[in-house]
Symmetry: C2
Subunit: 438 residues, 2 copies
């Protein structure tokens, strides 16, 4: 066994930091065998030293601040689990990289916003910047894309990347409860934050998608290129109607390399959409995360597991630590930073596919003809229409599934209808996602 201990500093002792500490202790025998050297947490940082976290910090150097740990502690690796795109987390990571210390982080916001700059620092210092835990927790999708699928040209990535949203949508479907009620329940269960806007607004998914797209396509991370829609407007009605048409509603992150007629560049989109039951993500329920990667040789490759929580996230962090312990190095985003491509963006109105539209209208003579005309005039052809429980002058939902068309056509058809006085509320529109790569 290598007599050279690997000294680890954990910056941040929240759930994930404590989970990582516990894993390194609980499985130290296995890890020592697998690494051929001892892994040792020598330093931690956290605001309050005395807080009871259920771990024994005897013999571990304590720092109040992550930056102090990164600069002053005797460590080979800094594990950054402070969180947040800026402030202490960012300063900690930058300090560690500049001093030539490996960094393992679970911080998707930081990477999505500053990934390229940080990768440059890591390259200049010749150290690893590892982040398996930043995307989909225990699902080892970063290593899969960067190493296991390295032989492939990746065509498309589709993922359920936020457990909070997936739990809410799953529970709305199974219980018939409203978004707000289920959100409250998710908060009570610890599946959603007190301020859930990052999750339900799709921002968290966008951070993760931007990272995945960079690794999959060898492109420079650009969080601003991600089109983002959240799930707070999804009603149980939409879930029920989708179900009647044979679909599930999921919040997906989608990244695809396009060329030719449909546009040139990398699509990066986060939105709730309808998928068929045979779609590999249709059966991913509750807090589970999953990613489908489609490569030119491997075909569909699917990864599923727990996307958050102390255990799965610690598992991902420790896999990065083991790689560093064994000297297994990979370029941060799969290729050296200078080779990262800056791809074109593909605006969402160039999207081509089927659509789900729900219109709440006053049921009076001619309203359906108005709807049909608006769609016809914008060359949107309807595959199915559902309208139930007619009651003259009462409100009624008209649900339409379109044939494949350009999004710009659908938007124009809906704009025409906005002016129609029979419309009780703005139209609800969702994309229907193809199961097979185009």
């Amino acid at each position: 066994m290598n007599s050279n201990h690997l000294k680890i500093g954990i910056a941040g002792l929240g759930t994930v930091g404590v989970g990582t500490f516990k894993l390194l202790q609980a499985n130290s025998d296995i890890l020592n065998q697998r690494c051929g050297r001892r892994l040792e947490v020598t330093s931690v940082s956290a605001l309050r030293r005395e807080k009871n976290r259920g771990i024994d910090l005897d013999g571990v150097t304590w720092f109040k601040d992550g930056v102090d740990l990164a600069t002053k502690a005797d460590v080979d690796i800094v594990v950054e689990v402070i969180g947040g795109a800026d402030g202490s987390a960012r300063k900690t990571v930058e300090s560690a990289l500049r001093l030539g210390r490996h960094v393992v982080t679970a911080n998707k916001a930081l990477l999505a916003n500053s990934g390229v700059e940080l990768a440059v620092m890591a390259e200049e210092s010749g150290v690893s910047l590892s982040y398996e835990a930043a995307v989909a927790g225990g699902v080892p999708i970063i290593k899969a894309l960067r190493e296991s699928l390295a032989g492939n040209s990746i065509k498309r990535i589709t993922g359920i990347l936020n457990g909070t949203c997936n739990y809410i949508l799953s529970t709305m479907r199974t219980t018939g409860q409203d978004f707000e009620d289920v959100l409250e329940r998710a908060q009570a269960l610890g599946y959603a934050e007190a301020d859930p806007s990052f999750d339900v607004g799709g921002v968290d998914t966008a951070h993760k998608l931007a990272i995945l797209a960079s690794v999959a396509f060898g492109t420079a991370i650009d969080i601003n290129a991600v089109h983002v829609e959240g799930i707070s407007n999804i009603s149980t009605l939409d879930i029920k109607y989708a179900d009647e048409f044979g679909y599930r509603i999921k919040l997906l992150g989608l990244a695809e390399r396009l060329s030719g007629e449909s546009g040139e560049g990398i699509v990066q989109r986060v939105y709730p959409c309808l998928i068929r039951p045979e779609h590999p993500l249709a059966t991913v329920e509750n807090v589970f995360n999953a990613v489908v990667a489609e490569g030119d040789f491997v075909g569909k490759s699917i990864y599923e597991g727990r996307g958050a929580g102390a255990g799965p996230t610690a598992s991902a962090i420790v896999s990065d630590i083991v790689d560093i312990a064994l000297g297994r190095h990979a370029p941060v985003f799969g290729v050296p930073v200078r080779n990262l491509e800056v791809p074109g963006e593909v605006p969402v109105d160039q999207h081509f596919g089927e659509y789900y539209v729900r219109l709440l209208v006053v049921d009076r003579p001619g309203v359906f003809a108005d709807i049909a005309s608006a769609f016809r005039d914008e060359s949107v052809s309807m595959e199915s229409v559902l309208q139930r429980g007619r009651n003259e002058n009462a409100n009624v939902n008209v649900v339409i599934i379109t044939h494949e068309t350009h999004e710009s056509n659908v938007v124009r058809a809906l704009n025409r209808l906005q002016a129609n006085e029979s419309l009780v509320e703005p139209p609800h529109m969702m994309r229907i996602e193809k199961t097979e790569c185009s």
Copy 2:
């Protein structure tokens, strides 16, 4: 870019060898970027040089024999895709390892039978022996277990590891056709070999399971410790009855570390069994493969993809090549050979669980009482019983789902019934697999 080309020799130009050659050509730009050096196939071996394989071998040195390639060719890596547990494949791999050449192989039979010896040779020479392609084709389960889940103590591995069997069972269910008819169809489609016995007999799954168990548990491969049953006795009746009780029938490979009451050691079993629709493997259909790994920190981690075919297998082979090109090394079975544990075996009759039993009996007075008594006398309690279409003195199927019990009890109950003259054929028995780890 490293000016040092990586020279590759491909031993065997069947479907997989040719697929690997094509991938390395088609994606050479991406691969050169990812590896920082050029990957070049400099040599191949195959019996006949002139055969048209749709690839251009100009400038590539040709050997008739794999061993010649391994010993005489100017290569850094030997890709062994000859196949077979012995003979040319084994000699090729041994020669390459002894000469200090990295080996990448897709050969599960070879590894299952001689993995430990070969790993010793690789260690002695300080080279890699890589085999991502040997298990579940394009599903990167070896890297996942060895690296991504390295922080975990693995509790259980469950896999659909043979596409032929999964295709047959899926198709029997969806078409209602018999085993023999579907097997013929699978052969016509190229999903099954002319001699399908390795696949349908469960041996191929056993090879793969033995490899997975070694990597997951850090144990020395022992193919003889694997209990193997195939699928050729599964009838459409069983599939229909399983369906009525809410189950799917799948051929699974299962490996589990047991301690305590249920035995001490590593369970390694291959058999067709019943799983609930919510089991993560229930929706894995046709030629797809999938593996569920359960770790103490990560929880359930699921991997799915194409288990065979030129593209997925080549993708796996090239991922191993990329690791070697980048100097990313891992112990062959996750830990050095000297640390591989030799675990106890757990005989299958110690299995504890629910059972499916189908008895074809002559419908006459008292027969059901005989069955009930046999089960009662061996302390097997019945959860559900199904018997349809009673016709005195005609043959009728009695289907029983038991409560959890020891297999030895079930076996004794069925032995009691064997002697019963109402029994038209030997009893059909299958295990019902739990969705959650015990």
